[in-house]
């Protein structure tokens, strides 16, 4: 069994290395696409968020000043946000011309209304061309509003607990404590991909994972090809048990998949200076991702009757997983819903693992969850595919 498995795997790899299109998909295409997308996202030398906002302060009260000076122009955002203080008409004009990414309109009477315990509205205008910067602007406003609400609540709670009107000294002290609260929003919020990292460090692993699915899909597809060309019958007529045929093909796909990702790691590191993080963790994440890719593509292929049909099914599934999983765009730039949906894909989990490795450092413990989840994807889909593949082989 073992000998037959190794012979079939070696034969499959020999065939794969003879096939130029296979080599392009496994090694060249991910590298080139990572380079192109990396350049598109920031000249290939880095990715960091920056935005230009306009602010219209018609209130000129203490709470508006605190938002403008303490939050928007505060130390937490000083490196990434450029602020332009303008009038309402100019703000709308700047938005229309695309010169600012978003504008905050603070109405007159904002501070007074909030201090009376009433409601007040900060309007955020977003430029259509900058959805991410617009989303950040909205989050900043929502964060400040939430902090004002919490502060007001805590002050009222303190006063209610005393059971009497506050003295002047107490009122002053509560006011100072509330005003001294931390600015509510900082850019570094722990979200995936929001932390600074080189484009090549993101799109290197990202493209490696995307093309990995195409690379390993040949394993299951080759069963269909061998069935069509008659060699499967000859294999089964030799001393090879059906299990050896399946194991040989899985082994070849695994070896090629791992090699493809590791070559991508080496190439992006040498050429673009990409940092993939702790080597042991990268290997673990690579192995689990390859298992997931083999399991899913094998399952998809076993649903097909011909190798042409299998190609179609595989492409559909691989592109869907890639789009949902964040292979083509930073996960952090995806809307919330898509970020949550990405967790339904092994691509999304693997990318989280690679991003965490770079942004947070650490080793195996950092990628434990992504490794476990991607491996589980592989084992579950692989088990179902194994049953179906056996039926396909035995006939």
């Amino acid at each position: 069994m073992l000998r037959a498995t190794l012979l079939i795997a070696a034969k499959d790899l020999r065939q794969r290395f003879r096939d130029r299109s296979g080599l392009v998909i496994a090694f060249l295409a991910p590298f080139l696409l990572a380079a192109i997308i990396g350049l598109a996202f920031g000249s290939g030398d880095g990715f960091s968020f920056s935005a230009t906002y306009a602010v219209v302060d018609d209130d000129r009260g203490p709470l508006a000043a605190r938002f403008v000076d303490g939050v928007l122009a505060g130390p937490g955002l000083a490196d990434v946000v450029t602020l332009r203080r303008v009038g309402a008409a100019e703000a709308r004009d700047l938005i229309d011309r695309g010169e600012v990414d978003a504008a905050f309109l603070i109405p007159a009477g904002f501070s007074a209304s909030v201090q009376r315990g009433g409601s007040a509205t900060v309007t955020v205008l977003q430029a259509g061309a900058s959805p991410v910067a617009g989303q950040v602007a909205r989050s900043l406003a929502e964060g400040y509003a939430a902090q004002l609400a919490a502060t007001g609540l805590s002050v009222r709670t303190a006063l209610d607990a005393a059971g009497r009107p506050p003295t002047q000294a107490e009122a002053n002290r509560l006011g100072q404590q509330a005003a001294a609260g931390q600015p509510p929003v900082r850019l570094v919020d722990g979200g995936v991909g929001a932390r600074e990292m080189k484009a090549s460090s993101y799109f290197g692993p990202s493209m490696a994972i995307f093309f990995l699915f195409f690379t390993v899909s040949f394993g299951a597809r080759s069963i269909l090809i061998e069935r069509r060309q008659g060699t499967l019958r000859r294999l089964l007529a030799s001393a090879a048990p059906p299990g050896a045929v399946i194991a040989g093909k899985a082994l070849a796909a695994f070896a090629l998949g791992v090699t493809s990702v590791l070559v991508m790691w080496l190439a992006t590191s040498l050429v673009f200076g990409a940092d993939w993080g702790d080597p042991l963790a990268v290997v673990a994440l690579t192995v689990s991702s390859v298992l997931a890719a083999i399991g899913i593509t094998a399952l998809v292929v076993t649903l097909a009757r011909t190798d042409e049909q299998a190609d179609g099914y595989s492409s559909l599934v691989v592109f869907t997983l890639a789009l949902l999983g964040g292979n083509f765009i930073y996960l952090a730039q995806l809307p919330d819903l898509l970020q949550r949906l990405s967790l339904l894909t092994p691509n999304g989990w693997a990318l989280r693992g690679f991003v965490d490795l770079v942004a947070d450092g650490g080793g195996l413990e950092t990628v434990a969850a992504p490794v476990a989840v991607t491996a589980a994807f592989g084992l579950v889909t692989g088990a179902v595919a194994l049953v179906r593949a056996r039926r396909m082989v035995v006939g």
Binding site: A4, L7, K11, R14, Q15, R18, D19, Q229, G230, T231, R233, R234, L235, L236, A237, S238, A239, A240, G395
Partner: protein, 317 residues
């Protein structure tokens, strides 16, 4: 060739059902060492199903298979190791060279090292492809691929070589080369199970022939034994056009000596006693029926006539 030696292949009461259809119904025969056994029957008769069961490629619904003393049920590995299987379609890797293909299939049959290299060289010589060993199979002609396809089944010197219609779709020159290869194997003492629907191949190659039709083995024996079943009767083949069905029925009804009269593509086949004497009367009735006869051939009794006699239809219907 059947003798006292232990048979290489014994199969008994093989059965296989596809849905409601019984594709193989109680087929059984044996093949002795050095013997070439032909399984002769039209397309769809059950030949490939039978050998697929013998080679362990298809589950049996019943019956037993023993190859070189090993039971397929108890020791399938030993049975497979004793068989060299040559499938009907070319089963090679087109992107590998001829030599690489043979080395792979040799290794799959347990060969390695010097033995593998020697056997690959020997087989390339036998199939006449030694000078093309480094070329990709995709660049071979159809006939060369067929020869290599057979060669891949010979590598491990199998006790039983199973050839499933190896000459289908092959040009006459390559076909002759393939038949010569099979004849050479018989000379080397291998037992050969050869399926075909070409009567002339069965007559040329096979020591014994089993005639299979609709999943059942309807006759078995040497050519002489089989022909004797229909007595001293001739086979008459006519190329003709017109109301052939009516003419065939008329011959059977009115002419003494016509045992079988079957309409085939482009004419009629007859089995008749003393065909040459009967010929003028046959043509006279054809003319009267308005049937135009363009050629007539009277043949000595052969396996085609046997098949016609046994089944009432031509082998290649």
């Amino acid at each position: 060739m059947a003798g006292a030696a232990e048979p290489v292949l014994v199969c008994r009461d093989l059965r296989r059902r596809y849905g409601q259809r019984l594709a193989v119904d109680g087929v059984g025969f044996r093949v002795d060492p050095g013997e070439t056994y032909g399984l002769l029957g039209p397309n769809g008769a059950g030949k490939t199903t039978t050998i697929s069961m013998i080679c362990g490629l298809l589950r049996r619904d019943g019956g037993e298979v023993t190859v070189a003393g090993a039971s397929l049920d108890r020791d399938p590995g030993a049975v497979k190791a004793a068989i060299g299987y040559v499938p009907q379609d070319i089963a090679l890797y087109p992107d590998l060279s001829g030599g690489e293909n043979l080395r792979f299939w040799g290794r799959m049959q347990g060969l390695s090292g010097h033995e593998l290299a020697a056997r690959v060289d020997a087989v390339l010589e036998v199939v006449g492809l030694a000078d093309r060993a480094r070329d990709k199979v995709a660049d071979y002609s159809g006939g060369m691929q067929r020869r290599l396809n057979i060669g891949a089944g010979l590598l491990h010197r199998p006790r039983l070589l199973v050839l499933d219609e190896p000459t289908v779709g092959v040009d006459p020159q390559s076909r002759n080369a393939i038949l010569e290869n099979v004849e050479a194997l018989r000379g080397e003492g291998a037992a050969v199970l050869y399926t075909t629907h070409y009567m002339e191949e069965a007559e040329r190659l096979c020591d014994r022939v089993g005639i299979i039709d609709q999943g059942r083995l309807i006759a078995e024996g040497t050519r002489r034994e089989l022909v004797a079943q229909i007595g001293e009767r001739d086979r008459i083949e006519l190329a003709a056009s017109g109301d052939l069905v009516g003419l065939a029925a008329g011959w059977r009804r009115t002419l003494d000596g016509v045992d079988e009269a079957t309409v085939v593509a482009g004419g009629l086949h007859l089995v008749a006693r003393d065909g040459r004497r009967l010929l003028p009367k046959l043509l006279e009735l054809a003319e009267a029926a308005g049937v135009e006869v363009t050629s007539v051939e009277v043949l000595e009794p052969d396996l085609e006539a046997v098949f016609l006699h046994l089944t009432g239809k031509a082998l290649r219907d």
